[in-house]
Symmetry: C2
Subunit: 202 residues, 2 copies
């Protein structure tokens, strides 16, 4: 390796590419070094340790997801926006499985930058849900719901959990819109009522 052609950003670039190709669990410092044409210990001149590299990848994944979802939401509202955001997220996970996997790790509480990047992704869902006129706790519940729906779908897909041949995009569209329909059709208050009922039963 010619001296000086490498820096921290380039290392993370290579790591991102590698984990997209081979899976995050296969991303090892030895492989990464080999890919870059240097010896493993030399990596520590650019990154602190494997943990910080994973953090960098998580940040990068969150920012890329944020970028795509924000862009998808522009100029849309309601179901249209919800659908576009969900699709953008799914597309990101599909195109960058390694980065996506890295982005799933929960940020460490004391890491403000990481926490903020994760919160911003949630913020997009919150913003889109404003169109449904939800307020207070209902909005928070619905936000969690949207996160869970999209994350659950995408990560099951990534794990190969959906066996059959039915188009995955269609499934996600169905899911998001059915949920949105439930929200619009006074679903939240109905759900709250049912939850109370259930709680009394148990």
């Amino acid at each position: 390796m010619a001296r000086g052609t490498l820096n921290a950003a380039a290392v993370v670039d290579a790591a991102a590419e590698l984990c997209d190709d081979c899976g995050l669990s296969q991303l090892t410092l030895a492989r990464l070094a080999n890919e870059l044409g240097i010896k493993p210990p030399s990596l520590h001149k650019h990154i602190e340790c494997l943990g910080t590299l994973h953090r960098e990848l998580a940040l990068r994944g969150l920012r890329e997801a944020n970028r795509r979802m924000t862009r998808a939401a522009i100029g849309r509202s309601g179901d249209d926006a919800l659908l576009a955001v969900a699709r953008a997220y799914r597309e990101f996970a599909s195109e960058h499985p390694g980065l996506y996997a890295a982005s799933l790790r929960a940020p460490e509480a004391k890491d403000a930058e990481w926490t903020r990047a994760a919160a911003e992704v949630v913020g997009i869902a919150v913003a889109v849900l404003e169109a449904y006129g939800l307020t207070g706790n209902d909005a928070l519940h619905a936000t969690r719901a949207v996160r869970a729906i999209i994350h659950g779908f995408v990560s099951l897909e990534a794990a190969g959990g959906f066996g059959s041949t039915l188009k995955l995009e269609e499934s996600l569209d169905h899911l998001v819109l059915t949920f949105a329909h439930g929200l619009r059709a006074d679903g939240v208050s109905a759900a709250a009522k049912a939850a109370r009922l259930r709680k009394r039963n148990s």
Copy 2:
């Protein structure tokens, strides 16, 4: 270790306990051996390798989830059943985070036993959804949706992804019932229509 007191089941027992306590990623053969009072290589007299141990844990997790969900569904139908199954699954993941994490790994295609155990968990959701009168592709989409919803919620919770203080059980109830409401209120056909519309636009 006294000779004869140990067998494969006992090893998996200890592994399950260990990974519930310390996280699946912290489950190492060295730790496990230490816990059992033997040396690491001796483990290979009972288990083939770390991979097969993970498979055993996955099977155990799937069966326990299956058991709890089946039990929860007994004597219920409709929203009631859906809610009970979702809660049972969430409770399992919450009480056995390590086993739950192990159960998430996609079964290897040629492993019939593992594949079947995973399919049975899905089967419960399918059975519960029959009450909503869905047929054909709609039923399949809805099945995927329920899996995604429950899995997404539970795994985000396990990863600490939900920051705020709002009761998690309530959020899951909201989510499940809002989706169910969407299903009941002719949500599927509406969603399909919207999806076609969106497809034309893009």
